[in-house]
Symmetry: C2
Subunit: 158 residues, 2 copies
DNA sequence: ACCCTGGCTATGGAAATGGCAAGCCAGATC
DNA sequence: GATCTGGCTTGCCATTTCCATAGCCAGGGT
């Protein structure tokens, strides 16, 4: 059920394997409700400030602050755009780094749907090329599908 | 770069696609630094209260409260265990629902490593059966690997 | 009987987060 | 030139999260 720990490395002197772990720092940025929800809406196709505010259901002030942080972190970028007859405005788009968060958002969606009670949402992810539903899977470089129980956590050598 | 939105569904009347979305509710539980880090440590093999506290670097009080929430949410379970000559104690183990968070944690690890500066961690995930490194991928039910740019978000019919 | 340790709970305070409300600025519209 | 609108910023307050410290309890060790 839980992952295995390889070779006792993780326990030697009980050194925290996770210290300065990328997950720590990712959570410093994404570890609040609003940031993740803003990113979700950008994935879902919203890009304008007012859209994001309305869909996430948060106030202007909070949204502005989180968006600033996400831009500073390089996950979103502000891009000028102009609709005909409108003045130039800014929209928020995913950078390469932001787009790489897709598996995490897809994972949260999938997990929430199957493991939280009372799913009332109707969002699905599908593959543009073939229309089939998309799932998040763990796979090793030899090409095997890896169930959670077969994931081994280890420290690579210095 | 960003996901496409299919068929204008997401925008009809600007209805928030994400309202009551599983991601909202997942983030209500996991949208704080500590919860995710505690889960990470359980994945890494820690299970005893004191281990978790030390490795996550949080105080007893906060850890106890988050653990209580995670147990209440059915992500962790308390299991009595007894080491010889010791009294009975409780350890925290992943439930099925908790183990299903593996792709999300693996995704965060991978994302942080490749997209945040100065990665100093040494954790790797590998496949117990073949020792090859493990990655998180999006795959459709037809078996294609799906790059982020080919993920379509849509609302399924009521 | 006494202490010690692991695993908590309690209390108080600081910092982050979020809501509400108001104001500001640039440019399009009148 | 006055007004309106989108996209913010500012100020203030409530709530949540977190840290620090202290205390509690069960049961083994002595």
């Amino acid at each position: 059920m839980s992952m295995q720990v390889a070779g006792g490395l993780a326990r030697r002197g009980d050194v925290p394997l996770g210290a300065a772990c990328p997950i720590d720092r990712a959570m410093a940025l994404l570890g609040n409700r609003t940031s993740m929800l803003l990113l979700r809406e950008v994935f879902y196709g919203a890009s304008r400030f007012e859209q994001l505010v309305r869909r996430v259901g948060v106030t202007d002030a909070v949204a502005a602050q989180r968006l600033r942080e996400l831009v500073a972190a390089g996950v979103l970028a502000k891009q000028p755009y102009r609709e005909p007859g409108q003045r130039t405005r800014q929209e928020y788009v995913l950078t390469e780094s932001g787009a790489a968060l897709a598996p995490i958002l897809a994972g949260l969606l999938e997990w929430g749907r199957t493991h939280l009670p009372d799913d009332r949402s109707r969002v699905t992810l599908s593959h543009a090329e073939c229309d089939a539903p998309v799932h998040v899977v763990l796979r090793c470089e030899s090409g095997h599908d890896v169930p959670e129980s077969e994931v081994v956590v280890a420290a690579r050598r210095a």
